[in-house]
């Protein structure tokens, strides 16, 4: 006896179709609305930044704006030194932070005894919750004076100080995501490698880390996004001179710092130029994330 005949024989009617459908449609709509919040925000932000920034591009010229070496509002709008500062501070942070983060992730996922991992992991997660202004304090009190002493320079507010603070700031993101992706690997990888007589460390570097590569790269992408977008801590430790830094022991101003520091008093074209700085920043983030995603897709098999 199938369901329909059973229902009939019991004298029951099938539930009316409409009531069911309204509930379904309502929730589908609700899901869609929620999903739209993110998409709408991103497009609104993009539209406003472009709208406000374009006059500066028209006034100064895109090429002059991006490659100009002098930032002297209202006369000269060249942000090349800031592009360089943003790239170097982010790249430096990645070079220092990512290896430390990956090794920490391996330690947590593979090597640390449970009690130690349970001690280190909350500490790392706490690091993620610290406001960036507090990182700035930490940089000012510890790193800036340390650089002054170590390199014997008058002012420690340098590109290097920014690099170190950023390297620490990206740690929790990269660690957490890398650890999760290493833990998510099926145990057969590790067992397979050990069963061939490989050492634990060899298995980690040759099998586990490569196998978890796509997850680790995602962590790195998020870390890069955080580093390039970081503002407050950078303003506090990097000196902010809008000139081309000659070395990492000189002050520098990033794209984000440029916007945050001058927005309060900028008017007219100067204000537009800050929005245009935002366009360049957005372009960088899209480019970086895009290339990491591409790398991820290409290499994953």
């Amino acid at each position: 006896m199938n369901t329909a005949t059973r229902v009939q024989s019991q004298g029951l009617q099938l539930a009316p179709k409409k009531a069911m459908d309204i509930k379904e449609i309502f929730f589908h709509g609700l899901f869609l609305c929620c999903a739209m919040v993110g998409v709408l925000s991103v497009s609104t932000i993009g539209w406003f930044v472009f709208n406000e920034g374009l006059p500066a591009f028209k006034e100064a010229g895109v090429t002059e704006f991006v490659t100009g070496k002098e930032w002297l509002p209202p006369a000269l709008y060249g942000i090349f030194p800031m592009i360089v500062a943003s790239i170097i501070s982010t790249a430096g942070a990645v070079m220092i932070g990512v290896p430390i983060a990956i090794l920490t992730a391996v330690f947590l996922a593979e090597i640390a005894p449970k009690w130690l991992a349970d001690l280190v992991r909350p500490a790392v997660e706490l690091l993620a919750g610290i406001p960036s202004v507090v990182y700035g304090f930490f940089g000012l009190v510890i790193i800036v004076p340390a650089i002054e002493t170590l390199f014997n320079i008058p002012a420690g507010n340098t590109l290097l100080a920014g690099i170190i603070v950023l390297a620490i700031m990206i740690l929790p993101t990269v660690i957490t995501i890398s650890e999760t992706s290493i833990r998510a690997l099926p145990s057969v990888y590790k067992e397979g490698a050990l069963a061939l007589g490989a050492s634990h460390v060899y298995s980690i570097f040759k099998v586990l880390i490569p196998a978890a590569k796509s997850g680790i790269l995602t962590g790195v992408a998020l870390g890069v996004a955080r580093a390039i977008g970081e503002t407050m801590a950078i303003i506090m430790v990097m000196g902010n001179a809008p000139a081309m830094p000659g070395s990492i022991l000189e002050p520098a101003r990033t794209l984000t710092a440029n916007i945050a520091m001058e927005m309060a008093y900028a008017t007219g074209i100067h204000s537009n130029a800050l929005y245009a700085t935002g366009i360049v920043l957005l372009a960088f983030i899209v480019l970086l994330n895009g290339s990491l995603l591409y790398l991820n897709r290409k290499r994953a098999y």
Partner: protein
């Protein structure tokens, strides 16, 4: 001659007494099948033979496992033991790298860098696992591109690249279709000439087809062991009889 000799082995996972007073001899260049229902301890025993159980937290082992007369749970180099006692797993587990790199992995882990040596071993191993003809033109492509049966033969090739003396197989065909299973069984018939094989299997027909000796496990106990013909045709224990006749398990 006995390649492996297990004597009075007890194994505990925490409170769980998983293997109870097991004694079994594994003769050289023969196929020994371990059969029994799920959870009977057959895979656990297999994993004590190359100390893979070391990876499990809270495992406790008493008794001895002798490999060529030497107790492997004494102070020995586990890496070396695992080179001499290789293993093939239930699910094909190629590494996420090329076919070539999969086979060369074990040797590279030992520091072998000579390209000529590696090339030769890769070819020999793939021939030994009856896979060479199928993959010789795409050695540098990802191993995941192979079918399940090919992947399992790749894993066998990877194991024999280390020139082990014993190969442990943990239900090597349970994830494969009948045709791929048949190929693996044919391959095992070749392998038995060079290697001592211990295989855990759920399929009694497979045990009958490929093994010289069979051991039947039941709830952590080794109930019966002997020549495969004898265990299947003339079992001494009523539990063995019930299991091999398909009454339960």
């Amino acid at each position: 001659m006995n390649k492996l000799q297990v004597s009075n082995l007890d194994l505990f996972y925490g409170e769980n007494h998983a293997l109870k007073d097991i004694s079994i001899d594994i003769p050289q260049r023969q196929v020994t099948a371990l059969i029994g229902p799920s959870g009977c301890g057959k895979s656990t025993l297999l994993r004590t033979l190359n100390r893979m159980n070391d990876l499990v937290a809270g495992v406790k082992i008493t008794g001895t496992v002798a490999f060529e007369g030497e107790d492997i749970y004494a102070d020995v180099d586990v890496k070396q033991l695992r080179m001499r006692v290789g293993m093939v797993f239930q699910k094909p587990n190629p590494f996420p790298m090329s076919i070539y790199e999969n086979i060369a992995f074990g040797l590279k882990a030992q520091g072998v860098k000579d390209k000529k040596v590696l090339d030769q071993v890769v070819e020999d191993s793939l021939r030994g696992a009856a896979l060479w003809e199928e993959v010789k033109d795409r050695l540098n492509t990802p191993a995941f591109g192979l079918s399940g049966g090919q992947q399992q033969r790749l894993c066998i090739a990877r194991a024999i690249a280390m020139e082990p003396e014993v190969i442990l197989m943990d239900e090597p065909t349970s994830a494969l279709d009948p045709i791929a299973t048949h190929k693996i069984e044919e391959l095992m018939d070749e392998l038995r000439k060079k290697f001592t094989i211990v295989i855990v299997t759920h399929s009694m027909n497979q045990a009958k087809r490929i093994s010289d000796r069979t051991a039947f496990f039941w709830m952590g106990e080794l109930v019966e062991q002997g020549e495969t013909q004898q265990v299947f045709n003339n079992p001494q224990d009523s539990r063995t009889q019930g299991y091999v006749s398909g009454e339960f398990g």
